[in-house]
């Protein structure tokens, strides 16, 4: 419990810090006061309409990705399973781009997140089908590479075909993710899907714990494995779809966070999932603060920072799991 409390305090502290950082240099106390102000002055607008949604989205997206990552790793019993690496995020991005550029996002209620969810669903199902229920590292990663490449290429194609001259430049956003200049509308778009996905995955917690003993043992204990699989697939797709629809594909959060927390939370998936949600919120807030502090005027993408942290760790994990590869 002490771990969770510590992580929770970290999330809160970073949230407050994140609210006081921005290109408009305003003393921290003034900006926090303006947040609870009803004056509609410029500072209140900045705090309530620009910085608050950004902070909330960082928490939502980070927690969702950490949670989904830990659940996938628990289900596949493979520390390399991560929504970004195995192509789920890029499929969700493809869904989102198709919704935006076909007009679905503008004309259908919840068209954007639903389409991203559909994309993520296709991605998860493909990966699970290709990698098999045990998710051997090699097939998992190969399937992930293929799906990421295909979804990325189709995303680029859709953006290049757009009549809008700026659309083609947005390939970077959809592949790297960013939280810049999002509004409360985006928070309300993503949050319900992340929460719904988390609820669905939470129902699998005991099943995942049992699965650590092996599939046969889990079935003997009365867990329906195909139901478990369905819940994991739908829950992950909902979380990743909701996050990607508004923030682009942010990689490595679901990989790094469970890996760091495993020594502290233990290998029990049900506990690791919740602490990974808190850890994910911390990691993404740190990354979002970093992009604002390091290059404030350049709209540095979130995925750049998470990849700088995540890719070396990923290589390390591959090195460690090399033994089981043929």
């Amino acid at each position: 419990m002490r771990l969770e409390i510590g992580l929770g305090l970290g999330v809160l502290g970073l949230f407050v810090a994140s609210l006081t950082i921005g290109p408009a240099n305003v003393p921290a106390i003034d900006s926090l006061q303006a947040l609870f102000d009803n004056s509609f002055g410029p500072l209140t607008l900045v705090m309530q309409e620009i910085r608050l949604p950004r902070g909330l989205l960082a928490i939502t997206a980070g927690a969702g990705l950490g949670f989904a990552g830990a659940a996938m790793q628990g289900y596949l019993r493979n520390p390399l399973a991560e929504p970004g690496l195995i192509g789920v995020s890029s499929s969700a991005a493809l869904g989102a781009v198709l919704a935006i550029h076909s007009g679905l996002a503008a004309n259908v209620f919840l068209g954007l997140p639903l389409s991203a969810l559909a994309g993520a669903l296709v991605g998860v199902c493909l990966v699970m089908a290709l990698a098999g229920p045990r998710g051997g590292s090699l097939t998992l990663i190969l399937a992930g590479i293929a799906i990421s490449a295909l979804a990325g290429a189709l995303t680029s194609l859709a953006l290049n075909l757009s009549p809008n001259p700026f659309a083609a430049n947005e390939i970077v956003f959809w592949m790297m993710g960013s939280l810049a200049d999002r509004s409360m509308t985006h928070v309300w778009l993503a949050l319900p899907f992340v929460v719904a996905g988390a609820v669905v995955i939470a129902m699998t917690a005991r099943g995942l714990d049992a699965l650590t003993l092996g599939e046969d043992a889990a079935e003997t204990m009365g867990f329906d494995l195909s139901r478990l699989r369905l819940l994991i697939v739908v829950g992950t797709a909902s979380i990743v779809g909701g996050v990607t629809a508004v923030a682009g594909a942010i990689g490595f959060v679901g990989l790094v966070v469970p890996h760091i927390l495993r020594p502290f939370a233990g290998a029990q998936p049900s506990r690791l999932m919740w602490s990974s949600a808190l850890g994910g919120a911390i990691m993404l807030q740190l990354a979002d603060i970093a992009v604002r502090v390091i290059l404030p005027t350049r709209d540095l993408k979130l995925g750049v920072v998470t990849a700088l942290v995540g890719a070396p760790l990923f290589l390390h994990l591959i090195y460690k799991t090399r033994k089981e590869l043929p």
Binding site: G22, P23, E49, P163, F166
Partner: protein, 286 residues
């Protein structure tokens, strides 16, 4: 906005000497008879100044009503896409190009001994006069160019109303790009009697003005670039809820790219429209 796209990427290319580029072949013909223009801005100046039959072809952008002010006129010419092959086959005795776009094509044409004149984009209202005169010299119509330039100078000074007390306005286009006083758009803004918020914030030419900084500066008017079809995240920032207040009439104005992008006499139209919007703001404020 198109100007930003065109200028942005190639800004560094300007300085770097290209080892492959061949120096322009000695002289341009005094009275060229087969002229091809391959840049939106030179297209328009050439169409205004060329004698009938002298100009063969203009670029495809001249037909795009968002960026070109002379779509009707452009229909009379052959259309090129700035590719060396199609331009060479037109057998031009003079090719007129912009400084940034299609550099590879320009180098290729020069290697093929086609005379290529490069015209820099206008960065200020004064540049418009220089560009008109340059085009006149290239086409061998100095007299009509001088007349057009004189007309422009007269119209501009009649229209200009520098006003140090005028409303504060911000030019704000896709990706949060703003323009300061040392840009054509910034000078159009000042000529219309507005004060530029970008200049207050230290932008002399242009740059990215974070949304937060724009809101904190609380300008009187926000001047957006026109909407392009389709959707882009770059333009999302213009529709952010925090800018809702600037959707009220009198608080906003549009940059119509076709009048703002190029240093041609059409900038006068942009100034006129902006002055009307400014007057509306001042009426609303009273």
């Amino acid at each position: 906005m198109l100007a930003v796209l065109l200028l942005g990427g190639a800004a560094q290319a300007q300085e770097a000497a290209d080892p492959l580029s061949v120096p322009p072949s000695s002289e341009f013909p005094a009275h060229p008879q087969r002229v091809v223009s391959m840049n939106l801005c030179t297209d328009q100046l050439a169409m205004m100044l060329a004698a009938p039959g002298q100009l063969l072809s203009v670029s495809y952008l001249a037909l795009d009503s968002r960026s070109s002010a002379m779509v009707e006129e452009a229909r009379a010419y052959e259309i090129n896409h700035g590719r060396a092959e199609e331009i060479y086959l037109l057998e031009p005795d003079l090719v007129i190009a912009g400084a940034y776009t299609t550099r590879a094509t320009v180098d290729m044409l020069r290697r093929l001994d086609v005379p290529v004149a490069v015209i820099q984009p206008a960065r200020a209202l004064d540049d418009v006069v220089a560009r008109i005169l340059k085009m006149g010299t290239l086409l061998g119509h100095e007299d009509s160019a001088e007349a057009m330039a004189a007309q422009f100078i007269g119209d501009l000074s009649a229209l200009t109303e520098a006003n140090e007390e005028g409303p504060r306005a911000a030019l704000y286009s896709a990706n949060g790009w703003t323009s300061g006083d040392k840009s054509l758009a910034g000078q159009i803004l000042r000529a219309a009697g507005l004060r530029n918020v970008a200049t207050e914030k230290g932008f002399s030419q242009g740059g990215i003005l974070p949304l937060e900084v724009l809101v904190m500066a609380a300008p009187d008017m926000v001047i957006n670039s026109g909407d392009y079809p389709g959707h882009s995240r770059a333009e999302d920032v213009l529709r952010h809820p925090v800018l809702d207040v600037y959707r009220a009439p009198g608080m906003r104005s549009d940059m119509r790219d076709r009048d703002w992008v190029c240093g041609t006499p059409y900038v006068l139209r942009a100034i006129k429209r902006l002055r009307n919007d400014r007057d509306q703001f001042q009426r609303t404020a009273e």
